[in-house]
């Protein structure tokens, strides 16, 4: 069973070493290595990184772009902030390797506005790497050049969705595009684009240096390597932890000193809520998809209050272009309020459940498709608690269930 092995991302790192190995290979050789490592996107969706690069490599386009998604907005997630603050060179080296592999000359890092204070550090890292000939013109004397631009967001959670992010990069409203075509074919300025999470890029130099076989020794068959987890809530030691894929919820709770735990939210507001009976499940794409955030609730917490916080978040952050998401999130929040007042009948609860299921298939982008996750899992896990609520009186008058 997977435990907590030596760490990868926080192990020693010499800027440039991996890039020096990469430029001795061809693009397809690098992509093959990444494919063999079975590295999957660390932003939450878990798409195989090597496959993505391969699609961009083989796509036709005047220009190709490498885009780093640093729009970390998922509630409870702060792992990318740590990487952007303390390990920016790993990110840029990963981006440079990706650019070399797919044949891109431009890279953009899309940084959320809330992290504007990280810009000076990133600018410094870029300029140091340029001086060391690891970025910029004629990298390591090979004739390969890569410009890196920092693009600031302006406060919109939906821009973490890759096509919304690209729209925002192009100066538009951050509204998700129809897919296909995927960004690998038509991304930024309609050119083939690799969009990867900050953490995904950070693994790339380590895989190049130590090999795909070494990386696969960590984690499970489907989810190789390790993963950063931002842990917050009712725990003694909150923070960012690097854990091997496949670590169970119980192992995590023990490690961070969580006591009297009632529920654990895995993957932020768009993730799922796990109750006691599932604490032995592993954090891996095939079991509990690990977004990067773990929020722990102890027995004193009211799960409806938690759920109402999540649903308010989605109502505010829904971009509003598709009806299932715009109206669905609103109705689910309304339902949660009814439950808090003890006025939600079992019939209406069923209707809301169906609405949630519909949103999962009918919403245009990941935001809406994931928005009902917390709702559905909290309803299922804590049904008794929800239905047993006292009915409120309004202005001294009895109220009715809906």
């Amino acid at each position: 069973m997977a435990g907590i092995k030596t760490q990868i991302l926080f192990s020693s790192f010499e800027p440039g070493n991996a890039l020096k190995l990469a430029i001795l290979k061809t693009g397809p050789e690098i992509i093959e290595e990444i494919k063999n490592s079975k590295l999957r996107g660390r932003g939450g969706a878990g798409f195989p990184t090597g496959v993505k690069w391969d699609l961009v490599h083989s796509a036709q386009g005047d220009e190709k772009y490498i885009i780093c998604n640093a729009d970390e907005g998922e509630p409870g997630t702060f792992k990318d902030r740590i990487l952007l603050t303390d390990h920016p060179k790993k990110i840029f080296e990963g981006m440079a390797i990706a650019a070399f592999a797919v044949g891109a000359k431009h890279a953009i890092i899309y940084l959320r506005a809330e992290y504007r204070y990280l810009v000076p550090g990133l600018v410094q890292a870029i300029s140091e790497m340029e001086s060391a000939r690891l970025l910029g013109n004629n990298i390591l004397g090979t004739g390969f050049s890569l410009s890196v631009e920092i693009h600031l967001g302006a406060g919109a959670y939906v821009c973490g969705e890759e096509t919304a992010l690209i729209e925002s990069l192009e100066g538009k409203r951050g509204e998700a595009r129809n897919k296909p075509p995927y960004p690998t074919k038509k991304g930024y300025m309609d050119c083939p684009s690799v969009v990867n999470n900050v953490e995904t890029f950070c693994y790339v130099p380590y895989i190049l240096t130590n090999g795909a076989d070494w990386f696969r020794e960590y984690g499970t068959l489907e989810s190789t390597g390790s993963k950063l987890f931002s842990i917050s809530g009712d725990v003694a030691k909150p923070g960012v932890y690097e854990l091997e894929m496949g670590t169970t919820v119980n192992q995590v709770l023990k490690m961070v000193g969580a006591q009297n735990t009632k529920a654990v939210q895995v993957g932020g507001a768009s993730g799922i809520c796990v109750a006691n009976k599932d604490f032995d499940k592993p954090l891996a794409f095939e079991a509990l998809p690990p977004g990067g955030s773990i929020i722990v609730f102890n027995k004193s917490r009211d799960m409806l209050e938690v759920l109402s916080n999540f649903m308010e978040f989605f109502v505010e952050e829904s971009c509003g272009q598709c009806t299932p998401c715009r109206e669905g999130t609103f109705r689910l929040l309304e339902g949660v309020k009814l439950m808090q007042e003890g006025r939600c009948s079992i019939n209406y609860l069923k209707t809301l459940r169906e609405l949630g299921e519909t949103m999962r298939v009918a919403c245009k982008c990941g935001l809406g498709q994931m928005a009902p996750n917390a709702f559905l899992s909290i309803i299922d896990n804590f049904k008794g608690e929800i239905l047993a609520r006292d009915r409120v009186e309004i202005n001294g008058k009895q109220t009715h269930s809906i």
Partner: protein, 158 residues
Amino acid sequence: MTLESSNKIIAAGIKETTEKYGCKKEKLLQILEDLNKEFGYLSEFVLLEVSKNLDMPHSQIYGVASFYSFLNTQPKGKYIVRLCKTISCSLAGKKKIANALENELGIRFGETTPDGKFSLMFTNCIGMCNQGPAMLINDDVYYNLDPEKAVEIIESYE
């Protein structure tokens, strides 16, 4: 100075900003961010000027300006206090900080102080979940807040 001539000067400044980005439509967001910083908010006048400079419909530009929560289409205070209200900060006691801020500034959330110094707002997750409650004042981040500390921070801006 007459209103007309002062408008001309402002318009020239806006033109300079858009030209800095080569009057490229795909740079609209950066242009608006710069102007938002310069003027504190994006007035109709500013948006109309940008629309002229980029040769884009005003409605489209307003659409972008109103989409993002860090761009203001209404006047705001010099310092915008954004208290995180998302789950982890909420568990960590955001409510008490909110009360302290309201009492200190004498305004409710969503309002601006009469002297135009502070605006008080809630914001969604700012990625300080392990050190909540947390808030942003313009671009600076403050965390591990307690009511007393929050008030001290506000006072350091006066």
